[in-house]
């Protein structure tokens, strides 16, 4: 008996200080969880309202059949298709190798736990958004200070196009991985930075641009790093490209075609040319005539550019701005403005710029109110236009 007591006493006891620190940290993030919950409540309620009262738009009966089917529509079917049946290039048609593997991979893992593909996708996206907000806050606080960090995080949680963060889409996951890679690099945790940066590139092609800020951080830390540490930092900078290379290698294995992604993108009408953005503006009237919703993406392109100027004013580092500019502008070189509004969600400086614009108390309140209203309205547009 005494022996047992002695053994128990030797076991490591929970550190009350560490436990209270974790609770304090959690309490410290309560505001963040609250804004995440508020933003998601708006999206989920709007989705539920569409399910109950319409509009129906282009959504098929299967999507309309479930309460939150709206959030599992459009490209969600491609991610589900990959998770369920793997990649397959169907020549001459839009097919799933156009979509990157990390999100369907997670979809398949969560599905194996017993959840349907639709709920799995929505669950992953919403949880990933909470993680994204935590790491975005940490990154922004490190770079631009507490007040900007708080506002940027709140604005990200309720951003008008942020309904995508709740859909079976990888955007929230990629934002989380990009911000996590940045904060890990700033804290000198280069292996973690490499893993997050690689993950971001495997989830969406825009993830590769996180290499720019990582390279700048590695350069700043070069004098304090050991030779091995420098190697880790350089490796983390190369990780997005290296991880990205695994995708064509995998496609070559299963489809005997390492360029299947490129072929699939072509069927989607996206092909990059040096003067693509000029052609995109030339073809804009025709695009608007065909699908008026493209105006929304053009508006967001300009809004993002203005926000990047604001982000610079707030003191955002140039490499982050360059990466954001690439994320926002490069898609237009594929002779299309479609979905630029959604792509911009992957650029943390967009939220930093908005936080700078909301420096004034009244502006801050206005941004919050307008964002929440637009978030609800934008969610209701999903039946009519893909994000």
């Amino acid at each position: 008996m005494t022996g047992h007591a002695a053994t128990l006493a030797e076991l490591p006891q929970p550190d009350p200080e560490a436990a209270s620190g974790a609770v304090a940290r959690l309490r410290g993030h309560a505001w963040l969880v609250g804004w995440w919950a508020a933003g998601r409540a708006v999206v989920l309620l709007a989705a539920l309202a569409v399910h109950l009262f319409g509009p129906r738009g282009y959504l098929d009966t299967q999507v309309r059949g479930s309460a939150f089917g709206l959030l599992d529509s459009w490209d969600a079917s491609w991610y589900r298709m990959i998770a369920r049946s793997g990649y397959l290039l169907v020549p001459g048609r839009q097919s799933d190798p156009a979509f990157f593997p990390l999100f369907p991979l997670l979809l398949r893992i969560v599905h194996r736990l017993g959840l349907g593909y639709g709920p799995s996708g929505i669950l992953i996206s919403n949880v990933a958004l909470l993680v994204a907000l935590v790491v975005l806050y940490a990154l922004t606080r490190e770079l631009l200070g507490e007040t900007i960090a708080r506002r940027a995080t709140v604005y990200a949680a309720i951003f008008p196009l942020g309904y995508v963060f709740s859909m079976t889409y990888p955007e929230s996951l990629v934002l989380a991985l990009i911000a996590a890679a940045g904060i890990a690099a700033l804290r000198g945790r280069w292996v973690l930075a490499a893993a997050c940066a690689g993950g971001a590139a495997l989830a969406r092609p825009e993830g590769i641009f996180v290499a720019l800020p990582l390279a700048a951080i590695a350069w700043q830390q070069r004098r304090t790093l050991t030779p091995a540490g420098r190697g880790l930092a350089v490796g983390a900078v190369a990780a997005p490209a290296a991880a990205l290379a695994s995708f064509p290698l995998y496609l070559n294995r299963v489809l005997d075609d390492p360029l299947a992604w490129s072929h699939a993108e072509h069927a989607w009408g996206r092909h990059f040319t040096p003067l693509g953005i000029v052609d995109a503006f030339e073809q804009l009237p025709a695009q608007v005539a065909k699908n008026g919703w493209v105006v929304r993406d053009v508006v967001f392109l300009f809004v993002y550019l203005v926000l990047l100027v604001f982000a610079r004013r707030a003191g955002a580092p140039w490499p982050w701005l360059a990466a954001a500019l690439a994320v926002v502008v490069l898609p237009a070189f594929s002779v299309s403005f479609m979905s630029i509004g959604r792509f911009g969600l992957l650029a943390p400086p967009v939220f930093w710029g908005l936080a700078e614009a909301g420096r004034d108390r009244r502006a801050d309140r206005a941004i919050r109110a307008v964002s929440l209203a637009l978030l609800a309205a934008a969610t209701v547009t999903v039946p009519f236009v893909f994000p």
Binding site: M81, I82, A83, R84, S85, G86, Y87, L88, L89, V90, P91, G92, R93, S95, P101, L102, P104, L105, R108, I109, W190, V191, A194, A195, G198, L202, P227, A228, R230, G231, L232, V234, G235, A236, A238, A239, P240, A241, A242, A243, L244, A245, S246, F247, L249, Y250, R253, V254, L255
Partner: protein, 213 residues
């Protein structure tokens, strides 16, 4: 020098680790595509690479009809719609013109689609008719492929149920190249032998000739 080499070695190891981990995750977790779907996708690929399909078909107990089916349309219509057209010229003197979207078939006694011209276009191996049907089945349902025998050769039969007809595309077991087509509908059924001719530079001129004929 040793310090630089160490830096390079560690960087390469991290990059290699990222590639290997990415590849490993995909290979371990994502399922490979079903073999039947790959066979069907390869058949679509063969069809799309051909500009002209020559065919010999018989509907029911009727005579053998020879046809040439060309992809595209030679007019100055918008590129998208012209590339989705098909012209089937028959040795019986008839010409069927198929324009997507809208499934209009001209030259068959009216503009409305009916099973007979569709059956003829499918038996003629018209790429813009047959390929989208196979692709649709691959992406929406589980495509069925069976071992079979057609035109005196062993084959894999790709079963493509559509709204108006039951289409079966027979491909060679090794290369998956389509070489025969079977079509069934409540009123008509037939079998054809097809020969895929690669798209050529003379394609537009040939199509003008065919339409003129």
């Amino acid at each position: 020098m040793r310090r630089v080499l160490l830096t390079i070695a560690v960087a390469c190891a991290v990059a290699a680790g990222a590639t290997t981990a990415g590849w490993g995750l995909q290979a371990a977790i994502l399922p490979p595509p079903a073999q039947s779907a790959r066979v069907a996708a390869n058949a679509v690929s063969w069809l799309l690479r051909s500009g002209l399909v020559e065919s010999a078909y018989r509907i029911g107990s009727g005579p053998v009809v020879h046809g040439d089916c060309l992809q595209g349309w030679p007019s100055a219509r918008p590129r998208r719609s012209s590339s989705q057209a098909a012209i089937l010229v028959l040795d019986t003197g008839g010409t069927l013109v198929y324009l997507r979207p809208g499934l209009r078939v001209f030259g068959a006694g009216g503009d409305e689609p009916s099973p007979l011209p569709l059956v003829q276009l499918e038996l003629g191996g018209c790429v813009n008719v047959v390929a989208p049907r196979i692709a649709q089945v691959i992406q929406t349902t589980h495509v069925r492929v069976e071992r079979s025998f057609a035109a005196g050769h062993p084959a894999l039969a790709i079963l493509v149920p559509t709204r108006l007809t039951r289409l079966t595309v027979y491909v060679t077991p090794r290369t998956f190249k389509p070489f025969a087509i079977g079509v069934g509908s409540p009123r008509y059924s037939g079998l054809s032998r097809i020969w895929l001719i690669r798209a050529a530079a003379s394609h537009p001129a040939r199509s003008r000739e065919m339409v003129a004929e």
